[in-house]
């Protein structure tokens, strides 16, 4: 064996043991090497997996989005403005965003009730009810749409009962609202349920030993803990409702200025081969949704930071 195989002196020359002195010496011992955009790993397959992922996303998400972003400018600002400022488009946007907000808000209340019942209590039929909550995720929107129309049409299952009272649901904004509520329910329930289930029993018991009553425990301990998941659920339900098409158009009646939703206007513009107009409405919807989602996320972030302090 060569000299290299001699036992190597322990730790080399002794260094001063005060950390302040050691750190700079230690740091200079390691050669600085430029690092690429990823950490080295011994697992294989990063390059092909990443290449496929990027290619797939580029072709199926980014390229189409680029088309959506580029198309509205065909006739300049003027063209975009003309499309968006038309009373019919404004009314549709107001209806879609306004009703989505109301529907998501109502869902926060009822979703909390449903989640609470499912998470905190045992009762007959609970498993079935629990599974049923996911149905709006799985049921095709067109199916939900014609079913709601059949229920709330003036001669429908519920519509016939309401008609004598003068309440019209189908073919009015109220009908749109009902469709949007059905679509959003699972987002709230599925967001809140796990938090409610995992809520630390000891915290509640501690409050109990300190003499807090059930309402105070709920109001001051559990609800604040649920707030982030309620906000997330709200924003998801809202985003879904804004874009919802299939379950709305059958019950909405689609009367311009009254019960016409924004996604439907895109379809109408496309049928007239007005690509720029369709793209304009699409882009504005997407940007507005993103803006709402980002705002909600920022609010949540701020709240979380305050909670930590």
């Amino acid at each position: 064996m060569s000299a290299a195989s001699e036992p190597i002196a322990p730790a080399g020359p002794p260094l001063p043991t005060r950390p302040g002195l050691r750190a700079p010496i230690a740091a200079s011992a390691a050669p600085s090497r430029r690092r690429g955009w990823r950490e080295p790993s011994l697992l294989p397959g990063f390059a092909p997996a990443m290449a496929f992922t990027l290619l797939y996303l580029s072709l199926l998400v980014l390229l189409p989005l680029a088309a959506l972003a580029a198309r509205p400018w065909e006739h300049g600002w003027q063209g975009l403005w003309t499309t968006l400022a038309s009373p019919r488009v404004l009314a549709a946007l107001r209806l879609s965003f306004g009703l989505s907000f109301v529907a998501a808000g109502l869902n926060v209340v009822m979703g909390l009730v449903v989640a609470w019942a499912l998470a905190r209590y045992d009762f007959p039929g609970k498993r079935l009810a629990d599974a049923a909550v996911d149905l709006p995720f799985a049921l095709p929107t067109a199916v939900a749409g014609i079913a709601l129309a059949a229920i709330y049409a003036p001669n429908g299952w519920v519509g016939a009962l309401l008609a004598p009272a003068g309440i019209k649901v189908a073919y009015t904004p109220l009908g749109v609202l009902i469709a949007l509520i059905a679509v959003g329910l699972p987002f709230i329930v599925r967001g809140v349920q796990p938090v409610l289930k995992d809520f630390d029993a000891e915290v509640e018991e501690a409050a109990l030993t300190l003499g807090a009553g059930p309402l105070r425990r709920t109001w001051q301990l559990v609800l604040p803990a649920l707030t982030p998941s309620l906000i997330t659920g709200f924003s998801l339900a809202f985003a879904r409702a804004v874009g919802e098409y299939g379950s709305v158009i059958f019950i909405a009646g689609n009367m311009p200025m009254r019960s016409e939703i924004a996604p439907l206007l895109i379809v109408i513009e496309l049928e007239q081969f007005n690509y720029a107009g369709a793209a304009s409405i699409g882009l504005v919807m997407l940007l507005l949704s993103f803006a709402v989602l980002i705002t909600i996320n920022l609010v949540q972030l701020a709240a979380a930071r305050r909670g930590r302090r």
Binding site: W37, S41, L42, L43, F46, F52, T53, L57, L60, V61, L62, P64, L65, L68, R71, A117, L118, R120, Y121, D122, G125, A129, A131, A132, V133, D134, L135, P136, A138, L139, P140, T141, A142, V143, A144, I146, A147, A149, A150, I151, W157, V158, P194, A201, E202, E204, A239, V242, G243, E244, Y245, F250, P263, I266, L270, Y275, A278, M285, L286, S289
Partner: protein, 279 residues
């Protein structure tokens, strides 16, 4: 940490439960009942006849074909994306995951619209492809593209958090034991996410078969040619063929129910092996 187990309700709790059940019945149960009720309104004979209609059968066939391509593609994408995102460290990861999520926050109509903007008669590539005799919009390809876009995140969203949580220890162990990359992936990684993969595929498939808005924009509603099942439902409904519309709708509702049952079974049996349960 100890969590509170569900308890037997008492007094006012029954009110809360009643409210929850009434709401579920109203928002979810009633529409489901309506689908089946309306489909059989004129008896079983009319129901069967509606389903045996050639246009209905070709819609079923088209739907199955589209799902048979779109779902495996997105499953493959989900595996590749999850492998890259969960098992490696690189810059821009957050951005990549956000891009994967975009289709979830897009209106289905927009997911259809973008393909018309690219491949429609007035689209970026429309004229070029027309010259080559290739049709995308009002054709199978367009329906496929719209479906793939709408269902793109399903498998990836299920796999990424789970694979991130599982880390790379088992893969590292396999490699120190002398296993190669492919063996490691097939024998260690894949079995660890098998149930989550199935879960994601189930949800992806349900959406692929049921997608309406996006497909509606690119299909052109040509009966017997470019009508998927949900589109066929719309066409029949607008023709006032309610029994026909609801009969096809029962098939889609049945698919949704089967998906839900399978999903619940997976969640119940393999809760620990799904990312979903811990989200």
């Amino acid at each position: 940490m100890r969590t509170s187990a569900p308890v037997r309700p008492s007094g006012p709790a029954w009110l809360l439960i009643a409210a929850a059940l009434v709401w579920i019945a109203l928002v979810i149960g009633l529409p489901l009942a309506a689908v089946f009720g309306e489909a059989f309104r004129k008896g079983a004979g009319a129901y069967v006849a509606a389903l045996a209609d050639p246009d209905a059968l070709s819609a079923i066939k088209l739907t199955l074909e589209v799902a048979a391509i779109a779902v495996p593609l997105n499953a493959l994408f989900g595996l590749a994306a999850a492998w890259a995102v969960a098992k490696f460290e690189f810059r821009g990861k957050t951005l990549l995951v956000s891009i994967i999520d975009i289709p979830f926050s897009m209106s289905p109509v927009i997911s259809g619209l973008v393909w018309v903007l690219l491949f429609g008669a007035n689209g970026w590539f429309g004229a070029t492809l027309d010259g080559l005799g290739i049709r995308v919009i009002f054709n199978f390809t367009g329906i496929l593209l719209a479906t793939v876009l709408v269902t793109l995140p399903f498998v990836a969203r299920e796999l990424i958090p789970l694979m991130q949580e599982q880390g790379t220890d088992e893969e590292s162990a396999a490699i120190t034991l002398g296993a190669g990359g492919l063996r490691t992936f097939l024998q260690v990684t894949l079995p660890n996410v098998a149930w989550a993969l199935l879960y994601g595929v189930l949800l992806c498939n349900a959406r692929a078969m049921g997608e309406f808005g996006a497909v509606s924009v690119v299909s052109g509603h040509i009966r017997g040619l470019t009508n998927t099942m949900p589109l066929h439902v719309e066409v029949l409904y607008n023709d006032y063929d309610f029994v026909g519309a609801f009969a096809v709708a029962t098939l889609l509702a049945g698919l949704a129910l089967v998906t839900l049952a399978a999903k619940s079974a997976l969640e119940w049996r393999f809760a620990g092996e799904l990312a979903h349960g811990r989200r």
